[in-house]
Amino acid sequence: MFQSLLTRRYLTSKVMPLLASAAVMLSVAMELITWSVMGGFLEQLIQSGRTLMGDIEISRPQRGFPDYKELMALLEEDEMIEAASPTIDAYGLVKLNAQQVTTCRIKGIDPESFDRVTGYYNTLYWTPRDEALPRDKERKDPRLDPAKHEALGQLQKLGENLDGIDLDTGSDRPQAVLGIEVFGKRGLRTPEGFVMDFPTFLPGFDVTLNVLPIDTSGGFLEPVARKLQIGNEFSSNIYEIDSQTIYVPLDVLQDMLKMDEAEKVDTSGRVEFVYDDNGNPIGTKPRETVGVVPAKVTSVLVRAAGDNIPLEDLRARVEEIYERFAAGNEDMPLLGSVNVYTWEDRNATLIGAIRKETALVLFIFGIISMTSVFLVLAIFWSMISERTKDIGILRALGASGPGVAWFWVRYGLVIGTVGSVLGIGLGYVVITNINAIHDWMSSALGIAIWDPSVYYFAEIPEEMNLTKTLIIGAAGIVSCGLGALIPAWRAASMDPVRALRFE
């Protein structure tokens, strides 16, 4: 009983316990913020990776594989699979104007099925908006303007169909959808370090794509250039994707890469020349058409029918379906030259690195947090010296050594609890406002720590969950209890006579 009374009174009567609580508070807040940001980073990376490529990818880079429509139909019949979508991945040069030329990952997609697998429609940037972005306190976002909603609605359709009318001529024209950062807009910084919030408007401009097709034997063909109209832009919130990806219609890229449907000719037998009247050869006879080479894609993306299907089970099922399909179709390459990846496999290096980095940072901060143990130890040591006479009084009144020790340990735990609760509160405020705080630091102090081009995501991610909070809070309390142990032992073993005579 005396322990709780003295704890209450000691806690509020001196500045030292408040300092100890403040140390714990800062330590807890620091760990919570670090873990939440790193964890949020990892979580966002994982979710984004999954969103952008679905759950499974059947992939054969460059050369691709045919009969993907039949394969997709077979896949979508399976109860574990929600949707499948064909894509072509290629790298090429993209030119906006004479000054702005960049290399890009050009992705040919079928928008409707691509949306079912990846949620593509939600990533389109130029669409009508009613709610402002969290950081857009002053509602500067042009997409919020009701007067522009009709035009934005048209752009949304262009993005969703990747096909539409030429805004200048009114004729039909395939559209391209650029990653919002492709021409370095959101990453552009003012001299004060402030990141530009809203990109310049590119839809309606032309963009020229240059790709290098390869033939069936792997040889390079002539580069192919094609000018498309920018129908919309997309923002996945992953800088690396938004700065390096362009979506174009699947058939357009198939055509450019010579992966579209073609006549199959008989290549057996001798080449027969065609001669002029003088008997000079002027060409070769066209070979006999013996069939059709179906169009190809480099990937088929697959979305699971629910979030609870284990990825490895899904992969096994997709492999099984593909093998069955390939066995009955001689044009299809066998598994081995076609790979089946999960989204985790695709991002394994990065995810693994971030997981290790998170663990390392937490370990380092854990060690730094041990300073709070020693801080509490030092503060308690000093407090016990100051309270020597009180300890003598308690012993004279019959308090046992363990009773006195428990008072100090309990006092440490209370300080730890106060510090942890305050630290969690501080951490919560910082974490939930971390982007606003960062914006303020950028504009007021000229300090911009989070560079999207370095940190992968355009905004600082965060993920604060109950388990992490409880673990860190408990660690703060326990560290205070540990810090109080040695001083408590010292108090318990103090000679009461000396304590009473202490000046």
């Binding site: 005396f2 009174r9 003598g392 009144l397």
Partner: protein, 242 residues
Amino acid sequence: MSSISVTNLHKTYKLGKVPVPVLRGASLEVESGEWVAILGHSGSGKSTLLHLLGGLDKPNEGEIAYDGKALSSMSSSQMNVFRREHVGFVFQFYHLVPELTVLENTLLGAMIRLGRFGYMKEAGQLKEAAAQLLGNAGLSHRLNHKPAQLSGGERQRVAIARALINNPPVLLADEPTGNLDQKTGNELLDVFESMRGDTQRTIVMVTHDQKVADRADRVIEMADGLVRTVQPTGLRTQKNPA
């Protein structure tokens, strides 16, 4: 009520590596309900004797017995119980906890004795008892004051109330008037006198002041770690010379 028997008590402290004998074979008897003053100059060993009597320290040699039961036979936890239930301490410098109110300081001993649940069960009665003790000491209007707001005499009266809250049969007072002026000291001794009342509590009071000592039933004079018994009339009889 409790009688005290002290036999051939030795206590030596070490100052660095140098042994400093403080008690050199002190013996005395205190009868149950008796108020005994231990008189001596500074360094005579009287405070050390009081600490040994209260179980705050252990002698190097000799024995202390309460009603025939030797303190040396008690374990550490039994000694804690002994201090909680059998003795009450009053110190020269009051030794109140500055953060606690007068009432809380008084109740501190009861909290230690009863533990959390025992105290909570009897909290109402104990608060009444503490208020009554403080009222008897003339501090009814000071219950919620902090020690810093009290005069020296008032603080010492709080210390006495705290020592009595567990109704111990023995009160040990170390220079209770040593930090007070003569008038306040006399008033405090009146409180000692009154609180003996019907309880016939045994009181051992250490002082260096003959006038204070003369208020006791019997005066035991100490010098150089030895004990002499002196009658309150001033007729001194040496009982156990070195």
